[in-house]
Structures are given as C-alpha cells and as structure tokens.
Symmetry: D2
Subunit: 261 residues, 4 copies
C-alpha cells in the first residue's frame, strides 16, 4: 500500500487542436492540465495518453501499469477502437479504477460498463454551477466544505440515464434552474468507477483547485483494493468434483472441453 | 392492467437440429416447449422467434408488441447480429422485461446489459440440482415450497462474474458440491431482467412443472411497470431555461444544435 | 389485481390543533386533505388514522387490511409507541407499502427501516422548490412533465443521511441554492418504501395537484407485489434434512428446540 | 494509512461459562481465541470487550479508539443495553467497521443497521460446510482457494431475511443439503459491515486457519476509509442561503431554532 498510485490521464485532444477557444485555455491539451493537477500529489505517478497515439496510448503494457485511468472525450467517441474499449473494460473488471469526466458520459467505455444510454439534457450558457456534497465523510470529498461553485460551466440536467449508482457523491444546482447527479460511483467486477461532471472544454474548469482536489481524491479512492476478475469458464471434470459423483444422462461435451461462447 | 401479457420466446434452435440427443427431447425445439409452458397461463399471449429467421425474428414491430422476452442461446451466441442486440437493449431500457435462461448467461444481450463477463464454472454430469428460495414472499417463487429439485442437470458453479443483483431469488446446491446464484434480478433503464439458471439442452428440464412455473411467474413479474427510457440528449436553449439566465463565456455549439456522440 | 388498493393515511395531527396557521390551511387535519387527494382515485379504498387514537389507529386488524400506509409526522415523533413501530415494521417486511412524507424523514419507522440517522439541513423561508424527474418512465412520475414547481415550501438540503436508495425519482432545486433527493425508493423485506419530500405544514402543499398525483402514483406503485417475510427461525431436524446425514459432534440444543433470540 | 488498525473483539462470553462443552474448546472464551487469530497480523492492535463489563466494555472512549469491531453473541442478545446499541450504531455510521459473526445475525446491532428480521433456518448436526468464494479478487478472500471446508458446523439455511447485500462474498454448501449467504457486505453511513457465518460455540471453528484468515482480511477491508456521519439537522438561516432570498409565507420556527425530532 506504500507504492505510488499509477494514474493514466487519457484525453481525446481534438478540440484543443481544432478550436482556438479551447487551445487558448488549454495550450498543452486538457489532459496535460489534468495531469498537472494530479502531479501535485506526491504519492502519484502520472502518465498521459491520447486518441492519436497507437492503440490510443492504451497498450496492454500501459494498462497493466495503470492503477487508475481518467477519461475525457467528447466529439470523437466514435473514433475509439472497439478492441481498445474491450481492453479497458477487461482491466476495469480486474480492478483498475476508472474516473470518467464530463462529456465522457457518452464514451464507449462508460456505456459499455453501465449498460444504459447515459443520456442527459444540456445547455452551453456559461452559467454558475454549485456542487453539493451528499456525504461529507466520503473519501472523495475530503478537503471540501458543504459545496463548491464553478463560476462558468455547461449545464447537464436530469434525467441522467444511468443505472442506480452505488453511492451518490455530488448533486449540482445550476443557475438556470436544473439539477444533476454530478458525482456518482459504481463497481463493475473489481474496478471502482467514478463519474465526475465538471469540465467543459470552453471554460478553465480544470484549473480550479476544488475540481483538481476531487480528481486527486477520486484517484486514491479508486485504486485497486481487489484484483482479478473471471473471464474463463472452466470445466470441472467429474473426478475433480468436491463431492464424489458419477456421470448420469447425456452429454454434448467431451470431458475437460471448453464451453461455448 | 387487464390486457394480456405478450411474451416472445426466443430460441437459438441449433442443438435441436444438430444433436440427436437434443432433438429427441425437444422434437419441436426448446423454444416450443418453453412456449407450451407459458401457454398454460390464460393471461399470456405467446409467440416464438429463432436465430434463423430474418432479424432473428426480432423485428422492430415484434419487439414493440413484446412485453417480456425470454432468451435461450448457447453455441451460436456469436451469430446474433449486433444491430439486433442494440434493438433488444433499447427495448429493455424502455421497459420490456427480459428472462435470460441457462447458457444465455454468455449471450451478447446479457453481457451488454450487465457490463461484466458473466463467466462461471460448469460440469455436464447429469447431477442433482436443488434450488433454494431466498425469499418466499417474492412473486417469482409463488407456488413453490422452500426448494425444488431437478434430477439431472448441468452444474454451474461460483464464481459467477456478474454485478451485484438487485435481488437474489434462488441459490442452487449441486450433488457434486458446488453452489450457484441460480435466480437473480436487475433493473436496467425501465426493464426488469431475471436470470434463471436451469435448462441444459441434454435433459428434459423444460418439461418440469416447477421450472415452467418459475418462468411463468417471472414473465408476470417482468412485465413493464414503467415505460420509456432516454436516448436523446436534448439541448435546452437559454431562453427556455426554468430560471432566467443569459449567455456567459465561450461556446462551441450553436443554439439548439445536437450534441456530440 | 382487480381488487381495490386499501390505503391508510396516518397523520400526527398535532400542529393542526396547536397552530392557527396550520389549522387555517388544513381545518380538518393534514391527513384528511391527503386522504381527499387519494379518494380521487376510483381504485382506492381510503381510511385515516391519527396519533391520538388507541394504538395510534394502527391496530393489527387495520394494518392487516392496509396495502399501503402513508406517514406524516413532525413534532411528536417521540410519542409514537415502540410497539406500534414494531408492528408497522413487521407489516412492511411482509409486503405493505410505506409512503413517508416530508418531516416523516425523522419518524421512528423510517429510521428503523433504513438504519441511519436520516438527517438533513433545512430552512423555513417559503421559497420556491422545483422537483426534477430523474426517470420519466417510472410509474411514480406518470402524468408529470420534466419537472414541477411548488411556489412556497420549506427547504430540505443535502447531505441527506440515508443509505443509497434503490431508485432516485426526484431531485429538488431550491430558490435559496440547495438541492435534495426529494423522491427515493427502498425495499425492505417485501415492502416497498417511498420517501417524498414536500409537505410543510405552513403551506398548502397537499392541495397542489402534482403533489397529490405523485402520492396516488406512489400508492399504486407500492401496493404489495410480494407477501410474507420471515420472522421465525425454524430448526430443521436431522431426519428432515434434504440429504441423509447423522449427528456429529456436540450440541447445546435439544432436537426441535427453538433457537436463542 | 500506516498506523495500526485498532480492532475490538466483542464476545458475549456466556456459553463459555455455562456449558462445559464450550468451556473445553474455548477455555479463555471465544473472544480470546478470535483475538489470538487477529494478533497474528503485525498491523493490528487488538483489545477485547465482553457483556459483563461496565458498558459491555464499549465505552465512548473505547469506541473512539476502535477502527473495527467484531461481534459474537448468541443466548444473551436481549441483555445488551439499548444505549450501547445506539452508541455502536453511531460509530458505525461515522465509519467504524463492523464484523458480525455467526449467531450475531440476531444481535440488536445487526438488526438495527439492516432494518429486517435477519431470520434463517438452522440445524446443529456437526455437518460439513463448504464455503465457496463468489469473487476471487475481493480483498476479503485473498489467500483462499476457490473454496474451503469446515468439518463440523451448525447449518444455517436460506431464506436469510436480510436486505440485498452490496456484495456477496461466500455461499455455503451444507452436507445436509442446504445453502446460505455466508459472507455478505453492506455500507451504512460511512461504516462497512461484513457478516461472516461460521463459528458455532460447540465446534473449534475459530481455531481453523481459513476462518481466522477471513476475519483478518475483513478487518483490513472494513477499516474506515471515510469518516463522519450526519446526526445534526442544522437550520440554514435565510441570510446564510447560497442564493439571496427573503422570507415568504408563514413559519412555525424562529430563525436559527433547532428542528423537531
């Protein structure tokens, strides 16, 4: 438990190249600014990965060295290769933590793990967002008061089409009148998943200290506490049964054979 | 609530054609025998659908008329078209009930909705299975005693790689010494999902009255009580906000524009 | 399923006698106004019960005839007898629905069933509350739009000290800047529980049509679909075991004896 | 995170004095043997507490220094004072872990936190129990294989009258034909709760290495990761509201006054 937490910050990194507004706020990419915020923690070891790299920067080797993966994507969700989504899903089930940020609600990996559409309502008016803490004792909110505010953000509103979270961490109040489940957790296999709403590309949200604090807390919370998930379907031969039994009835499989998939 | 419950029984119907052992037990196909069991209920309207039909028998029109879908598949999971899986998933999220039977644990639709591998251990020894009721007041077990037995079944054993069920309905005791979560429920969107373990193709399980009773109960339990799920991501224009606000900061989207996916 | 739903509306009925402000709004008591709202439904059979009646109006006989119980209490939570709380809890576990209203968050029965403190923050400023629907397909919100507003209400704010709900139905936005999980469900035993926030005694909330609609929908949703819960701890004698076994080792109990409690 | 984990082992310690069978197996009391098993871990600091001590050994001071409490009780559940149950509940909600052992399923504290009857079926025949691991990656099962066996145990059988666990860790197979959810977790407030079935007083179960390993793992898993739970119900005065508002409508409370309980 004393070893460093190895986090990989994944960024789509498309808006930053295409839109001057975004480029001005995040000249090195949003992923670099998120990584900066994590580097403030002495117990972390941080790397970044982006869509345009081979395997989107998420090779088997990199994922094996990743305790927690953060994910920001938006306009290029469809460009993420299915085989990489398979790979990330497998690692989450094994125990890798996953922090899904803002528009990542529509990423392939988030929808894959949750099984629902993850839709919501939205408005890009730069309105004020106030995030309320639903449980002041939760590790993810340590260092915060009862709420914090972001002066300008995109609005996301309910209904948010997710399965019931294991725990609700934040609910947002928006100036324009909406509310949203802005921080929520799930477990899939041995992996802990945290969705955190803020982070629209046209505002300097990832420079705000409370936002970075939450992401740091979440990375610590999501580090693997379990390991391993089951992706084999082993046959237990009759002679290896815990109780002595013998073959009865018909069978399609030969002893020890792999099952159908 | 007085209208009939419209159930569609889906069967892969491959073993029945390829393996004489199976053909002898289920000469009209396993799906026909399951459908027979459901037809005992006066309040049901039953149809069947199979893999070899156009759209695997699951057209938009059929699904719209289906309140509850039962699913048995095994050796041909990979032959189910992804677009049909998308379609079934969308209907489940909207509220259609889904009863996944036996080897359907590895079907695309089950893994899609649950987000995990759904692996398990297994043995085809025709051993005795005893299914214990975990909650005698649950609608799915009405008409059963504390347990019922199946004289010959395939063994499925823990670990079963699923997310925590909303409710555990049955746990199985196997002659060879294993245990298994044999009946479990989840909700995804507005659809109720029930996994029911028994039903190996080489045994006459779907002729057993307790098994048919459970499936009938489950169809009634899984009928839609909600409706509609959210698969749009509507923009709420500034002038339609519940509270009066005005544009602040930068924006990438034009007013009323659809969001990225 | 065609029989009427028998609902009992429980009211503390203390403020209505002590405070002229409340008496003016609810001259016959808050419970009578809630009962009026339910009587609009032709499929309901409604009775009321109050604190000052013998057994608080909740005798064994009444509870046995009650499918769903609604609960409003505030200043006299401590005057509810523990034996009546035991009785209500037993009926909920058996399958009776329970709708807990507003300040009932601090009732003995709600805390008993949830196991937590159920604390929250509050302000009595008559501010505007807007309740957002978290799942438009859920039976409890049928007939509502994306949200509804109450012009004057007491504010309840997060953190709300509850275990994670099975489903979140409403989140409230308050004029003063807070948010709250205003509609949430849990299952305990076979009983469905719905907490619904609105209903402060100094405002005419229970005259508002959306509020009454939600309570009617909730009563229908909470009607028993299961029955029976286990409050015996039966010994299974050796000779009645499903598998043949014989006594081994020491024992403190005599055969067939009741266990310790 | 480097400080020692402070565990308090609570034992009813009544059978050990009354029944020679039990005294022979556990001459120093069952709690001492459980404590011995925990002392094998260098990162633990262990104390014991028993029913006959003042405050049952669970003073405010002791509980404040307790990270995880283990609980074994049986014939004297009714002798545990309600005010001590209140105190333990409050500490669990704040974040103290709670490991409930065997017949502790009927303890006041377990029923208080879960809200259900926690009934089950049972038989004292010294039969073989085989505990299957439901998730080999979970921290509580590290060091175990797919299952372990206890040669002589009391049988506990389904139905087990609990709310759905957050995670199911073990399912037991019994020689006499029953099954049981033998290891299960819940969270209440910030406290993690683990129920672990084995440990009948007439067998030397707490000498078995796998049983002690599980309890050690569970103590580590249950150590507080959060802290603090909400047991105040603060009024937020109008002038402290996050958004500027002014009083509207009637009020029963004076500004800043405490709410009703």
């Amino acid at each position: 438990m004393n070893a460093k937490i190895r986090a990989t910050v994944w960024g789509e990194n498309v808006h930053e190249k295409k839109h001057p507004t975004v480029a001005k706020i995040y000249p090195h990419g949003m992923h670099q600014q998120i990584a900066e915020g994590l580097r403030e923690a002495a117990d972390f070891e941080i790397r970044t990965a982006t869509l345009d790299q081979p395997d989107h920067g998420l090779t088997e080797e990199i994922l094996e060295k990743t305790d927690v993966l953060t994910w920001w994507g938006h306009c290029a969700h469809g460009d993420v290769a299915d085989k990489i989504v398979d790979r990330v899903q497998a690692r989450v089930l094994q125990g890798m933590g996953l922090i899904v940020l803002h528009s990542g609600h529509f990423s392939k990996i988030f929808k894959r793990l949750l099984g629902t559409t993850c839709s919501l309502t939205w408005r890009e008016a730069g309105e004020k967002e106030r995030l309320w803490v639903c449980n002041p004792g939760h590790p993810i909110v340590q260092g915060l008061g009862p709420y914090f505010e972001i002066p300008n953000e995109e609005m996301y509103g309910e209904p948010f089409a997710i399965p019931t979270p294991d725990e609700l961490i934040f609910i947002s109040w928006f100036e324009g009148g909406e509310v949203f489940r802005s921080g929520a957790t799930w477990k899939r296999g041995n992996g802990k998943i945290f969705y955190f709403r803020p982070g629209h590309e046209t505002y300097p949200t990832y420079y705000q200290k409370e936002v970075l604090l939450v992401i740091r807390n979440a990375v610590r919370w999501a580090r693997p506490e379990g390991s391993l998930w089951i992706d084999s379907c082993p046959n237990v031969p009759i002679e290896k049964a815990a109780e002595k039994i013998s073959q009865k009835g018909e069978s399609l499989h030969k002893p020890g054979e792999a099952g159908f998939r």
